[in-house]
Assembly symmetry: D4
Homo-oligomer: 220 residues x 8
């Protein structure tokens, strides 16, 4: 555990891929296009897997100068050298249409790192039959990512339906007492369905990376 | 709107019954037994309906000296002159066994003020079929009180199943991120099920009184 | 409880009308005009009642392409096929002029779903005689929606005057310690007037929908 | 501004009386009886006005060894050498019976420092006619202290009725969303009645001292 | 206490002047220029004292169409018919230059309602000698308004120096842990200097109105 | 998904085992010994796997009357019919000795439901070499549970060392700014190490159940 | 950086002394007397400097079985082998008598680790002349620890008087809006006096350890 | 301690340099260019050391009219008459590239006031070997400033590696549960590494000034 490249503005962790099975993923906010260009170039040269930059706005993405990448605007993801798909089925379920950008990030990152991602949209508990109709799809997944804002009750409902790992992603969808996602976050952490796990608000990225860790174990 | 009795330590609102259909309900905490005795005696003399004192601990209840009352320990309710039952069906649903004391208060107050209360216990969403099995019971109610702690998801699930008024009561059941009921409160306020209303944490009393207001309208 | 239409970006709950007496109401934020167009078209085809989209900004409203709708800018409401008025008198009282947009949403939604809504503006407690002068109007209502920001004291004052259901809507009117509506929310939840119920901050929509549930019971 | 007595465990501000018209008031919590005895003895020797110790529990009070003092248990106040009454009428109004201990502290401190204090109990806004019946009393005061917990709406109502200074004291009366007095505090700070001022939660002492500052000006 | 004018969009409290010595002050935010014009015209016709509108942005101010008014941009205050100066000396002290806009509002409102306001700027406790040099000025005031952001320590320092009423106004000056003024607010409420009172964050208006209440008593 | 037993005070979800591979786990707080006895008896009769009751105090545990159970005091766990060990290695790492009770619950529950749990205590980052010395142990695990209070930095450090799933459990260890575990919770949710997941404060139980979900996938 | 002793219940960081100049300090809460005995014995054997255990209640202290230690009850500190005094003058200033226990911990720890600690008590800003009278003492210190609760203004005042490092320790002294020390903490972090640093609420220990780090630099 | 210049809009503390070794530093936000020009001119005339203005946006900086200054855009710092470098080595370590602006402020201020500042970027704990590789650099510093957002774990890791003073600066880097820097702030305050000190969120300035205080002691 010793390798890194010191670019002055960044110490690129070139050892990450051998340690965790994926190159370091670059956090976009606060970085200038030249810095992203430099870090991505270094990661492509010093590793073999997918290279990703998250939360990149379109104008920044356009100014990054590294050939071979693709940009997904809703997911705000820049990606190079996506991994080949492996046999791990990740189901991403959303409570409402407004949660889509977060789900899009989860799906895009998951796909780029080789998971077989599938989205089920708009199955919030106010019309619980929509969720029940998706029971089979959910139960065939290796893991489920639940993306929900407002009160986040979908996580509990899914948690009670499936036996596989459930990763809950609270979103900032809503207003007033939703407190920009804090309410959904707290609700998911205190779910009456046992064994749910939770990641940061609006972090489709974290959910996909948690799924990657799961896939590492499932592979064995 | 002019009547009250000044007992020195309290101004008893003797006009309340004519204004709102029920005598003033006495909030127990911080009052000495003699004060409760005095206020209750005055209310019994100056009104005709049920006289209630809420949140009374057993030792205080035992020291209140007004004949004809009854005390329910789980509900912590002292009651005199309960109202005759009228035809308003109030269903009180709880998410878990631990929410029972709050539901007990809702049921006891509702009964004392003349509503036909009925409790369905332990229908949390982690096993949603328990709730679905109660659909008929719920749908026959004139109003439903949902009592739930932790993430409070039961309110959303019930809200999606019934068309009648739903009064959500968050409870302090849970620990850590449940923040003594604040999480359930926020979650219920941001429910994706439309038209739910919410009362204060652990306030079975408020839910029953809100139901009383409903019954006033339903009567017409 | 089985029907829904899967439009890919949304699962329209076409069973909602039979379950709850109203078609699903569409939450506008985060949806593109094409998506709103698609969902509304589906709801108009698969149900018979009013179809509403809430919190729609003017530019989005202008781009929604479904004939026969109307748009109310202050209320930010898109509506098709409003329900015929029924005999349920809903009084919407505001504490100040600045609370008007939230009251406007409550009034617009209530009217669209068939309630007889009536607004009394600017009766805050700093000049309590303005409220007392409206006592008769308030007491003749089947339910009162109280819309107030800052300290939200109007809810308690109204709660003490009327016997019918009171639905309190905290607003984000104010600054500093009003904490964008949280103070009014907490104050309304802890009102000394018994039996008030509360909905989310700035949610005129929720208040109208809660009134619709009340009207369902009052109809019997 | 130079005098103080260094007792080792305390630096007694013996200059306070000449600067502010009252000797330093001793904050009781965390002090041992011997320390209180020492400080009070020093203050009696080095000043001429009333000497007070606040928030003293009965067992501590009993162990303080300075002749000539009196102890009021509800107010938790130890006092020596009370000031002669001057012509400043302070009205202390409480929302409910449970707010009495805080009002008792305000009354006891105010009396000890020479104000003419008068208490009106139990005039919460849920029965607003009780407050209106006290209008004359309130309007004859030189200042009003409003003591209220829960949503604290009494402060706004009083603020709208009188033209004199209003000092609002939030109390921790209530449960759940009252957040141990924080809700009343925030509500009072955002009152729609102009020119209210607010002191710390449960601090009858602060209200009385603020009134003392008022009396200083009124005297001129 | 019965008069008000119902303009439809507002119920103007025309009784306020006789009750409290000043016409109702208009809260600007959320009101359209036509509404302000209408309310101000009504107040000028139905009362004799100063008519004020607070927190008005320049473009709105320019569109209000009532002759004889003046607008102060830093204070964001529109005023008609200022009161003649009376003999009440109000000292407004600020901790830093950045607190000036709030102090400007306090000064402008106080002047418009007839108080003799005087500002001392930039006497924060980091250089306490600047404050001590102003001791005489402060001690000659009838009341002091302390305007401070960040940790708000100036309020405690002034509170210890003067015997007259101190009204503390927390400001949102600062960043990070200053939490947009909440830190200064909490600090002022828990000051070790006895008898301070506090108003809402950034509310120079409230401080001036509290001073008006003081002046009412001081006049006698 | 239809089975449950209605005991009056509880609806036992007898379908849980077929849905999720484990019988319902009973949440102890708020249940009387007779209720626990009844529920456990029913679960033993209607399922085949381990039956657990969590957060049971010693005096309650002693009063539960069902033969064949065992009680672990530090973990506060009652267990009947523990599952045979399967080949899933769960490493539980604690930051400090004070985190032990939470880790004990995780270990006890994990063991009872058939996971191979192993604890590494006291490897907080203040002496990071203690953690590095445990690298091999950590890297051989199928999943790691990190139990840490205070600032919870251990989760990030472990997250950077291993590629397998990491379940972070914040604890209430600490004082002051640790806010009873909220600080560790927030810190773990915002870890710079990608793909961590988090459960509720002090919930060793949730971590073990999340691991059970992982084991379900790992088995395939 | 490799040494530690694995006692099973603890991994004692025996390398700490060579890395940081002091043996690991033991955090008392949650540890049994036998565990403290074991850890202290190991630290005494494997290092040469002072061995400390913090936040130990008297009954636990009495049960720890290692010869040669001393216990200070107010400071709740167990100490063995105190360091010889070196020439670093640490001044500990408290705002009020109630802050003494925290200052006592700072003084006791500082003394045990070889600093020359000196306490100035009760110099809160409500009587600022008491602080000014101590200016010389403060200015001769190598570092000042300011211990204050309530609004914590003493930190700003001291910060403005001295040029040496100031370590601010907020305490939980106070009630209501002091929020158990959070208000003082926030106030100290936003002080207008530049270059103050802050440690956790009530942590006299942290302040002393920060001073130890300072002394390390000052020694050169 | 008596000197200051009253410019009307500011009281410039001209005594600061003799008291604390540095002229007053000007806080930029809320000041107009003319005001900054006036204050800086006065400080240059009345003192001999470096004159700094912090948090100045480029357009304001361009409008300040005082010859001889320099502006650093990332640090938002205006500086005149920088101090000669003295022998105090300050190491500024950042967790990620996004923390750079805060580190830039720390470095720029430190350099301007004569410290020998050196930055190590991007050594977050997710790849702890990057930090360990910098151990020697860190251990040779006289003090370390740790700049980190998200969970702020770098502070604990550095605190465990070095014996010199550590000043932790939480940043607002991150989203969701990072709560704009509050999470990093709380985490740093509760670090398991002893003797860390903390300054306000995003305040590179405060860290540099705290280092200046350290250097004052180290000089002796």
């Amino acid at each position: 555990m010793t390798g890194f490249s010191d670019l002055g503005y960044a110490r690129v962790d070139t050892d990450r891929e051998s340690r965790q099975g994926l190159p370091e993923v670059v956090y976009g906010p606060g970085k200038r296009p030249e810095e992203i260009t430099g870090i991505v170039t270094e990661l492509l040269a010093r590793s073999t897997g997918p290279v990703l930059v998250t939360r990149v706005e379109p104008d920044i993405a356009a100014a990054v100068d590294v050939p071979g990448g693709s940009y997904q605007e809703t997911a705000r993801l820049l990606a190079w050298r996506p991994a080949p798909e492996r046999d791990f089925r990740l189901c991403v379920a959303t409570a409402g249409t407004s949660d889509w950008p977060v789900a899009a990030e989860a799906e895009a990152v998951a796909t780029a790192i080789g998971l077989r991602a599938h989205v089920i949209r708009d199955v919030g508990v106010a019309g619980i039959h929509r969720l029940l109709a998706a029971s089979d799809e959910l139960q065939q997944a290796d893991a489920v990512v639940v993306v929900a804002g407002m009160e986040g009750a979908l996580a509990s409902a899914v948690g009670g339906l499936v036996s596989c790992p459930v990763i809950a992603v609270p979103t900032s969808t809503g207003y007033g007492a939703s407190l920009e996602g804090v309410t959904a976050l707290l609700a998911m952490l205190t779910s009456c369905a046992a064994g749910l796990t939770v990641v940061n608000i609006d972090s489709g990225f974290s959910a996909a990376m948690a799924a990657h860790r799961l896939a590492t174990v499932a592979r064995r």
